[in-house]
């Protein structure tokens, strides 16, 4: 199997004055292509630090992190930026769409930083990505003309547009109501079925139930890493939610 993420004895320490805070204290796991992994943990468990390292925004103090076979720890700032551009699709809790910018232009953004893609291809791929998140009819809408769920779907389209090896979601449903978060999770599951590798950081057990595997952190260590035998379908949940009416 093709390992997308391969982490060995990863440590990340922060020096705060005299105190050394061990945010990650020896973590090892790997993610295979096509997996849907949730990373859980309460605040202070180190999941944000892990997310930053997984997203190539931060580098480990020690240990190795191979992303799609590339050793991340030795890369420069610019090389990390290129890696983020080509291998990772971020989905944030607060969507982070550019205001007063159409959905299409928001989705095009990652491709703007990829010099090998021309204007026409960029346009086409952005349209396809918006189609994949079922927003073809909203491509010229501005973020403030879209609902929270729609905005998050634009953000997912933006994460998909550069064909990343991994979609990295950070509390992507945190700002949404139950119904909309089921809708987003159903989209995530759909993408996963199409073969996308998804790593989803959350603190809601509810959300973790939709993934195929859950890693739980506490105090910078993995306390559990288990396959989810009973994966729930977000689509069914969504329909169940609408039935009682």
């Amino acid at each position: 199997m093709n390992k997308i993420v391969d982490i060995r004895d990863l440590r990340r320490e922060f020096v705060m004055g005299d105190v050394v805070v061990k945010a990650l204290n020896g973590i090892s796991f790997s993610v295979e292509a096509g997996e849907f992994v949730t990373i859980m943990g309460s605040s202070g468990s180190g999941k944000t630090t892990l997310l930053n390292i997984l997203g190539c925004l931060d580098k480990p103090t020690s240990g190795t992190y191979l992303l799609d076979g590339i050793e991340v720890g030795t890369l420069s700032r610019d090389e990390l930026a290129t890696l983020r551009n080509q291998k990772i699709g971020f989905v944030f809790q607060s969507y982070n769409l550019l205001p007063r910018t159409s959905a299409l232009e928001n989705v095009e953004l990652p491709l703007m930083y990829n010099p090998s893609i021309g204007a026409k291809e960029r346009h086409e791929r952005a349209k396809q990505a918006l189609e994949a998140v079922r927003l073809s009819d909203r491509i010229h809408h501005l973020p403030n003309q879209l609902s929270g769920g729609q905005q998050q779907r634009v953000a997912i389209a933006r994460a998909l547009v550069n064909n990343p090896v991994m979609i990295l979601a950070d509390e992507a449903t945190g700002n949404l109501d139950t119904k909309t978060s089921y809708d987003i999770m159903s989209l995530m599951q759909e993408l996963n079925h199409q073969g996308k590798t998804i790593v989803f950081v959350t603190h809601e057990p509810d959300i973790a139930a939709f993934s195929s595997r859950t890693i739980t952190l506490r105090d910078g260590k993995i306390i559990s890493d288990r396959q989810n035998t009973n994966v729930r379908s977000a689509r069914d949940m969504l329909e169940a939610l609408q039935e009682p009416k």
Partner: protein, 407 residues
Amino acid sequence: MNVVNLLRIALRALRRNKMRAFLTMLGVIIGVSAVIAMVAIGQGSKQSIQDQLTSMGSNMITIRPSSRQTIGGGARLEASTLQTLTVKDAEAIASKAPHVSAVSPMVSTRGQVISGSYNWPTTIQGVSAGYLDIRDWELSDGIPFTDDHVRGAAKVCIVGQTIVDNVLPGQDPIGKTIRFNKVPFMIIGRLTQKGENAFGQDQDDIILAPYTTVQKRILAITHVQTIFASAVDQESSEVATEEITEILRANHKLQPNDENDFTVRTQAELISTVSSTSQMLTILLASIAGISLVVGGIGIMNIMYVSVTERTKEIGLRMSIGAKGRDILLQFLTEAILISVTGGIIGVVLGVTVSKLITVFFAWPTLVSEGSVVLAFVVCAITGIFFGYYPALKASRLDPIEALRYE
């Protein structure tokens, strides 16, 4: 990142904040247009001052006999009574000095002019046909006398307005005959009015006649009192002076250690006044230019600086999806340059328009020089880069993790 994408990113970012971009631009627009309009006014004024000075004869060179000659006990004679300058000298200067464009000998005397029952004391100047060019003096009526008139010692004259007012009131002077010291002269031209000169002398109280006529029929002399010459332009009056001195020394057969028996004077003082005036005007306008543009530039810096803080999250996002520090730096720099260059273009158009309007509505001479347009534009582009750089650098050095979390 390629230039097209860079421009597109910067343009989209500016488009998201049209109002702010415009207000930032306003500083540059006002700066550049003020510079262009100011310089246009300055250049226009300078040009009109120069034109006026030229009409006063700033190229004019005056050659008079020197009071080297003495009588009896060593008393020097008044220059006008000396007889060292001749028509031959004037002819030699005209033919041999390359930096001299026109030469006119002059003899003059005072006397009474009479016409009918009117009479008036005035000055008659005997000059050649080129004199009007040397003085840059035009006729309002009639024709100037010619070389033929000079050769034939014709009894024709050109009169100033004061003569007309005093001896031919209310009449068309052309074709009339007046008598000066009993010699009749036919008026063939009238001079445009010059008014008083800086010393309160009436410049229109004059009769111009061929010098030969004045020499033979009024004064009965063969020498000339003064020679007027005109340098080809203001800058060459020095050279022309040297040439004239050379020629006259040769003509007068002076030995190397002999003193000149003539003096050559230029309007050097006038010329230096002109250049110092224009110099001062230029400095004044340049400082206004500097201040306006610096203020405009600080406006750009101010907005870009605030914008970096305000857009921290946007910067974080761009970095998280793959923008390198350099991409962010170039984006902000490009935004600053786009603002300043666009503002510069609008400012140039506005400045030129304002200059034209000033000329149309206030009849103030303006001259939009290409130099000032190019300078204002280049300075404002440089201002954009200079003042945009620091905020852009600050943006590019943000830590993506911190930036993303910024609220």
